[in-house]
Amino acid sequence: MGSVLRRLLFFFQRNQFDRDLEGELRSHEEMKAQALADADGMSGDEARAAARRRVGNPLRLREQSREPWVFATIEAFAQDVRHALRLMRRDPAFTFTALATIALGIGLNTAIFSVAYGVLWRPLPYPDPDRLVMISSAQQSETGVRTFSTWAPVSYEGLRPHVTALDHLAAYAPIDARLTGRGEPMQVPALDVSPNFFATLGVTPARGRAFLTGAAAPDDDGGAIVSDRLWRTSLRADPAIVGQSITVDGLPRTVVGVLPPAFSFRPVIRIGALPEVDIFLLNRWPGDTGTSAFLFLLGRMKSGMTQARAEAELTALVNDSSIAPAGALAMEGARASNVRTLAFTVGLQEYGTESVRTLLLILLGAVSFVLLIACVNVANLQMARLTARRGELSVRMALGAGRRRIVRQLLTEAVVLSVVGASLGVMLAQVAISFTLPLVPQSVLPRLGGIVIDARVMAFCLGLSLVSTLLVGLVPALRVGGATFGEGLALNAGATRTTGDRQGERLRTLLVAAQIAMTLVLLIGAGLLIHSFVRLTSVSPGFESSGGDGVVQTVRVTLPEDLYDGPDRMHAFARGVLDRIQYLPGVTSASVINSAPFGMMFIQGSFEIEGQPKPTLAAGTPKIDAGYFKTMGIPLLAGREFTARDTADAPNVAIVSERIVREYFPGGAGAALGRRVRVGIMSADGEWMTVVGVVADIRQQGLDQDVKPMIYAPFQQDRSGFIRFVSFVARTATPGSVVEGIRTEIRRAAPDLPIASAATMDEAVAASVAAPRFRTLLLVLLATTATLIATCGIYGLMAYAVAQRRREIGVRMALGADRRDVLRLVLTRALRIVVVGLVVGLAGAAGVTRVLQRFLFGVTPTDPIAFTIVTLLLLAVGLMAAWLPARRATRIDPCAALRAE
């Protein structure tokens, strides 16, 4: 900073300095040459050469001569800084307002930028991360394009040897692993990976080695690589861990490597982010895994390769049926003749952050607005102060201070303000980040670990304070160059005070109106989000997550295949635990479901109603036990709930939801009873089940999701593996102790079974709206800050205007104007400014709010309610800010005001 500024200031005088020195040295040389010629009788040329030799290196000489000046410039700068600080101390109200404004503006920008940079742009911790791509597919048909993220193992095996655009093509599949034998059984985020996974990422373990590839790969079957975090916690940082065995999913796995601490891999699937992976298991997916698609493909492009070329090659390959057999490409499988499959690539970084990119860019836009408003405000304050300091500055100019010197002084003041403000801002950002980051739900922002205020963020902040310096300092400073100042004004400075400074006044009015316009845009954005958040949270989930007789507590486990190899054992486990849970103290009712609402898991599939054409809708197909609807508080509309008699040997029964009745049984709920339905994943190929009941609809996946048709079947009658996922639900007034009770019962039934999660339904619902709540809160915070700053702006302008017009108002009052007239005079002026700002702001908002479209729920981007309320609010706030100075104006004593002149 110092050296930059020093050079900048010296630059002003450098040309003159260089010219002078140049000339001086030349004349010195000539005189010396002359002397040599006179004394020793040298010829002219000889003498000149000798003189030049004696004078020495002119560049060095010039540098040496310049040095005193450069240091003097620093001294002058220090003097200016001291002067600026003195002025700041002398006017604490101004200083406080200006510093707070700048600190807020820069702090918010730094905070949001550090988040945006950390999440969106900080390079992934792998070598050449730009070359890493995720490979997805899309199927184009006349109904549109559908994209799929996953591939079948046969497709992967088919592609791998043929693709030339990539150095590596790796596959992975996220799984939940069960780590046992090391203390409490744990469910650990894990990844099945192909042998070349780490080679593709370019990562070498800190201990041990990566998986072997090629012909040696089979040697690592049963191998595992663990994260540094897992190694430090569960494995107690055992230095001899490599080569030892850990038990994953009931099988011994040999640890072949421990990853470096900085390594982090987060497989991103559809929603937000999954936790960081702790265990990597080698898997080569033998050919008998069929055509179901569950592999994510990660590629490292050859250097110099473009995504377009890689995509072209991959697309050609996937459409070659000898490489990728039909039906093996994606979940939907079948490749009809009219469907073309495209392979496309997305940068790994982009792939993981797509969900938050728009939000963060919007926030960045919003905070830039706040900074702009802040800068305008401070510039405005500076200008008001400048007018007040006109006397001082004019006198200084009359005493010989150059215009350049005065401008430099003003710029220095702006620099001091900005630097101090920016430092406060960075501290503010640091505090804000460390307080808010822990509150940010993981599903909202992936890569939270990457968010720190580092050199790059500081550089950004420095840039911001530079910009703000220019904005804050340049506008007022440039006006010094205008006609307003001059030596002539010094002596009659008193006289000019009453007429005011028309041109500056107009500019300041314009700036305040612009502030109001920008604030309105921000406020309307916040208003829209608030309105849609209110809409969203007022949506009923369809179940009663809490009520008179307690809250619903859920505890989820996943039954591992090695321990529970058939439906009977799973039934027995669920039955056994449930029988005991029902008698836990405080439990009024309890049941079991394989996919609890608002959970991660939602199993749906095709269904069919006997005697009706096949529906195109998919239905949720939860398996539940007796008492589920009672426990969840879902109303039964017709028929009966499941009972203990609906066992595996009893006739198959089902309960359908209202939506099914609405769509397929025009006769109402009663008409559905006794009819038969069947379900399946790909096609409805299960056994027929007789409908014995109808229940109300629920929003299974989230408040913002459509109501899905649901077909519930008894847990005990299920023959599929999908009851592997067991959620115990219990209604209780004492959720804390019940969780412990359920945990104990589960451990009693299965000592090695980790609890996957435990939460009340209230918590689950709250978590599902965490993202909208978070973004609403953020925008409200920004808009509030902007409003605060803009309010200060209006207040400052009006207070100043009143002070300026003391005499005029005094005259008016002396001539008989009463307080009401004075009040009206001031408020009308404020109203004019505010209204101009509001009109411009409304037009701007109508154009800008469209970017919020995808975050709105049940609200249009031009929602009249939000627009109206926010406009009125800002109008009220604006007038209120003008009210105080206006009241002060009414208290002006006409005599005193006139005498003062």
């Binding site: 002078d20 020195l21 000339g23 001086e24 040295l25 004349s27 010195h28 000539e30 005189m31 010396k32 002359q34 002397a35 004696r54 004078v55 020495g56 060095r60 000489l61 040496q64 001569s65 310049r66 040095e67 005193p68 000046w69 240091f71 003097a72």
Partner: protein, 103 residues
């Protein structure tokens, strides 16, 4: 040369009459009977230091040999400074002499 003495010598020289850089160097050299040789590499930075401090002023004039040269002249502040330097120097000189004369 002792540190700071060059500035003092320049100020002293300029207190007689305004002079250009070459002239200053010549003057000091001559009066000191060639004991003190003033290098351009230290003369010009010293002159700049004096300019910065406001003890001398510089202006372009025509020299006696009808040549354009930059002449330095002492300011009021410079005269005052010369007085300060002289008394400080004689103090210092006296002190050094006293030490040297002992034993």
């Amino acid at each position: 040369m002792l540190p700071g003495t060059l500035e003092m010598l320049i100020l002293k020289t300029l207190s007689i009459e305004s002079m250009h850089g070459y002239g200053i160097a010549q003057h000091i050299q001559m009066l000191s009977a060639h004991v003190l040789t003033i290098e351009e590499g230290s003369l010009y930075p010293a002159l700049q230091r004096l300019l910065v401090k406001g003890w001398v002023l510089a202006e372009w004039k025509i020299s006696a040999h009808n040549r354009r040269a930059r002449f330095y002249r002492l300011t009021t502040a410079g005269k005052k400074q010369l007085g300060i330097e002289e008394s400080r120097f004689s103090q210092m000189f006296g002190a050094i002499m006293r030490v040297m004369k002992t034993t």
